[in-house]
């Protein structure tokens, strides 16, 4: 699975996710990536793209949960993302990238690793796996 989230200097957000699914999956199986609110979501607060065990990400409505915690509970992106990765999905099943309208970036995962990268306008750049 691959994905990208972005925010511009005016706070406009977007999210995109693309995947081939699982090796040896049943033909016709749909994963979380194309499910809005599960593997992909964006609103006026944040943008999220997920990767991992699709069925768990769908059950946990991972991407929408991050936005909802910000919208209804007033959490920051980092706080909302940490809650979702700890509470909404089983350990070892999920990772996601997210940005907020005010330029926060977070890339949490509860698997062994996640290939990821980010950059911000102030020159910060990060590439990581573990």
């Amino acid at each position: 699975t691959v994905g990208c989230v972005a925010v511009d200097s005016a706070g406009n957000l977007a999210s995109a996710t693309s995947t081939g699914g699982y090796v040896n999956k049943m033909a016709g199986r749909i994963g979380d990536s194309p499910i809005i609110g599960a593997g992909t979501y964006a609103n006026h607060l944040c943008a999220v793209s997920a990767t991992g065990q699709g069925e768990d990400i769908i059950r946990g409505t991972v991407a929408r949960d991050v936005a909802a915690l910000m919208e209804y509970k007033g959490l920051s992106l980092t706080e909302a993302a940490a809650y979702v990765i700890d509470q909404s999905v089983p350990k070892g099943s999920c990772g996601f990238i997210a940005v907020s309208a005010n330029g926060e970036v977070t890339m949490p995962f509860n698997t062994n690793g996640m290939f990821r990268a980010c950059a911000t306008e102030d020159g910060y750049t990060e590439i990581g796996i573990w």
Binding site: G92, M114, C118, E121
Partner: protein, 182 residues
């Protein structure tokens, strides 16, 4: 106002600390390339929706990642790619599933968002929609890599589905063949 920011991923999973250099380094190079594409797009003034589409297209074009060229195989040795895109400001969104010839599924998802009153098209209808809009397609064989044929053989041997970066073997994390859920 704050500055722009971008994040991207190439999949997660059971990536062991001894993940071989010959697998790790090409993926890190691909991540760097795709990040540079996104940064350049922002610097040239492209809006976030264009940036995420552009970056995911680049990721899809990298055979080391499980999307586009390099997509993994189903139990029937077929490809079923899926993708979605969403604009936060308007909440407009588009999604596609069951593609087997479209080079860049993310761009087809954007066309669903922009050219239809719907959110989601799948399988034959999605392929037909791609052709109707002149989206680039190829023979499915062009999207299949030898590595993924081998991965399917290994997964079938253990009768398991296999997540991104799962190493073969019956006890490896990421195998869910005995799961009764999902």
């Amino acid at each position: 106002m704050v500055g722009w920011a971008i994040a991207l991923h190439g999949g997660g999973g059971d990536i062991q600390l001894d993940y071989p250099d010959e697998l790790r380094i090409p993926r890190e190079i691909a991540l760097r390339h795709c990040l540079d594409v996104g940064v350049s797009a922002f610097k040239s003034g492209k809006p976030p929706l264009d940036v995420v589409e552009l970056v995911v297209r680049e990721l899809e074009n990298q055979p080391v990642f499980n999307a586009g060229k390099g997509s993994v195989l189903t139990a029937e040795c077929t490809i079923e790619m899926e993708a979605s895109i969403m604009d936060g400001k308007t909440k407009r969104c588009g999604a596609v599933s069951g593609l087997n010839t479209v080079v860049n599924p993310i761009s087809l998802a954007r066309l669903v968002m922009e050219k239809t009153p719907h959110v989601y098209l799948a399988f034959n209808a999605a392929e037909a929609f791609a052709r109707a809009h002149g989206v680039e397609t190829v023979e499915t064989s062009h999207l299949i890599t030898p590595e993924n044929i081998q991965r399917l053989k290994q997964a079938k041997e253990f009768n398991r589905v296999q997540l991104d970066y799962t190493s073969p073997g019956p006890k490896a994390q990421g195998y869910h063949g005995e799961s009764q859920t999902g």
